[in-house]
């Protein structure tokens, strides 16, 4: 497959000059995000931000070394849909980094209570799987991917189950309304890109062109309470410590915005599904 074209010299100088003057090609401010669009599918657990995240669950046998935990995995795929240079079944560096970052942000931060996925200790558990399909990418893939995964997981409903003695019953959607996952907190990613010789110009939500010209980048994952899950800065120019702290502050503001947006969208979707106000009665879930 053909290689992706690198930005030309004139493109490079023009973009960098503009950024150093505080201007961006699409007319945004340096600390301004593109408008985030989120839509949920008709099924539960489908969220689409030009990346598609699909959640699915099935009953399996837990890992022998962790008999009380369910299985939760996130897989991501970049295919020829993004650009012809991505090949099928040959993961690129971006894909590996994306998968690792999502893993650290969502799985290792304990956003999903895996113990609640256990049905019969050591014998049966839920295996929740998130499949992330990138449809199109123009920079800042990590933030949008993380948003999509969190949105899809919070939107997802798994079939209801009951245990009587030794027998486990999994109810179909027609028998009992599916139940949401036990979700503990919603971490989001905010990526900052640094430009300039000293790396002192901070730009958020970069486009693909800007992303190719950055000198360093740093991704913060945190929830709206300001609890940081991870910070990753993979190589690039060294950055002043004060700047990193400033970025963390900005990230918190951004994450609060993301949380509000997601909550609003989820409430909107719940209202759309709640035809005739029957949802409260259909739900077999216990009040916490």
């Amino acid at each position: 497959m053909p290689r992706e074209a690198e930005p030309s010299l004139s493109e490079r100088t023009f973009t960098l000059q503009a950024i150093s003057e505080g201007l961006r090609l699409d007319g945004r401010k340096l600390d301004e995000f593109r408008r985030l669009e989120l839509s949920f599918g008709d099924e539960y657990g489908v969220a689409d931000v030009k990346v598609l995240a699909k959640v699915s669950a099935e009953v399996t046998v837990p890992f022998t070394d962790r008999p009380f935990d369910g299985i939760f995995q996130i897989t991501s795929e970049l295919g020829p849909m993004v650009a012809p240079s991505y090949e099928v079944n040959r993961p690129t560096e971006t894909e590996v980094l994306l998968a690792r970052l999502l893993e650290k942000t969502i799985r290792r931060s304990g956003a999903l209570d895996t113990e609640s996925l256990c049905l019969v200790a050591g014998q049966k558990c839920w295996s929740v799987r998130v499949d992330l399909h990138v449809l199109s990418a123009d920079g800042n893939l990590i933030d949008s991917a993380c948003f999509a995964v969190v949105a899809a997981l919070r939107h997802f409903r798994k079939p209801d189950t009951s245990i009587e003695g030794e027998t486990l019953t999994v109810y179909t959607p027609a028998e009992r309304e599916p139940v949401p996952l036990s979700w503990l907190h919603s971490p989001f990613c905010a990526t900052f890109d640094f430009f300039g010789d000293e790396g002192d110009i901070v730009v958020v939500d970069t486009t693909w062109l800007e992303e190719q010209l950055r000198v360093a980048s740093c991704t913060f994952s945190l929830n709206k309470h300001g609890e940081i899950c991870q910070i990753s800065k993979l190589g690039g120019r060294p950055i002043e410590a004060t700047l990193v702290i400033q970025c963390a502050q900005m990230a918190l503001a951004k994450v609060k915005e993301f949380t509000d947006l997601l909550d609003a969208k989820l409430a909107e979707d719940a209202k759309r599904r709640d035809k005739g106000g029957l949802m409260a009665e259909l739900s077999a879930e216990n009040e916490r």
């Binding site: 599918g41 489908v46 099935e58 499949d131 449809l135 199109s136």
Partner: protein, 248 residues
């Protein structure tokens, strides 16, 4: 059943892209091409058609490979491949949503042939190819039919739902080009030769309906039994072309 819906050129990076939804299925197609083929699979006389089906959940397995094997020869007949030697036309089909049977909890990792998805995949691929402006010999449409044996006799259901497919004795997918030539014929289940003849007749009527002008009204109008997808594709593309040429 809801009428088909489509969105064209919604992915900025791909040469052509389309989102097609009908009967609970939503498919996104991205088409890149003609691009240079890799050395190992280039053909000096014609373009290679590379079809890639991706499931919504899980990684693609044997079921997806089989769908690819059904679609790839069909698309090869449609694309003017001899115009582009040593090239490749990449068609990526991403399943976004598939209808679920509310009475059964489905397993993710169970490969199972799903004939019902083929029409949507083909239509999405067609729209993708058309928006990518890839020269085509002809256009095509397909339909899915299910035969149910009840005490009252056999009935043929066009565009069956997953529940109806589960109850059917045989499921058939037939595709026709705009010139009424048979392009795809896949069947599953047990059926007699007479039943297949009836299926062929019905499918031809469904796919090629309304090509003779004035026929539409007699058949009960647009959407009488199922949507005429070729007409739908034409109207969507006309709307898109009108929108794109609005500046003139």
């Amino acid at each position: 059943m809801a009428p088909p819906a489509a969105e064209l050129s919604h992915l900025p990076k791909a040469d052509g892209s389309a989102n097609f939804s009908f009967g609970g299925y939503t498919i996104t197609a991205a088409v890149n091409g003609p691009v240079e083929a890799q050395r190992r699979d280039e053909n000096p006389f014609e373009a290679l058609v590379d079809v890639n089906v991706r499931p919504a959940a899980g990684v693609g397995g044997t079921a997806e490979r089989q769908l690819e094997a059904i679609l790839q020869p069909a698309l090869r007949h449609l694309i003017a491949i001899r115009n582009f030697p040593r090239c490749v036309v990449q068609v990526t089909l991403q399943v976004m949503e598939a209808p679920e049977n509310a009475y059964v909890n489905s397993k993710v990792m169970q490969p199972r042939l799903n004939l019902g998805i083929i029409p949507s995949l083909l239509h999405a691929a067609m729209l993708g190819l058309l928006t990518a402006a890839i020269p085509l010999n002809t256009v095509a449409s397909a339909t899915c039919l299910a035969i149910t044996n009840a005490t009252a006799g056999t009935t043929i259901k066009v565009d069956p739902s997953p529940t109806e497919i589960d109850q059917a004795t045989s499921v058939h997918v037939l595709g026709f080009t705009a010139g009424r030539d048979l392009l795809i014929a896949e069947s599953e289940g047990s059926f007699t030769a007479e039943e297949w003849d009836r299926v062929l007749q019905t499918a031809e009527n469904v796919c090629c309906r309304g090509q003779e002008t004035g026929n539409d009204a007699e058949m009960g109008g647009y959407g009488a039994e199922s949507e005429n997808v070729l007409q739908f594709m034409r109207s969507v593309l006309e709307a898109k072309a009108a929108e794109s040429l609005h500046w003139r």
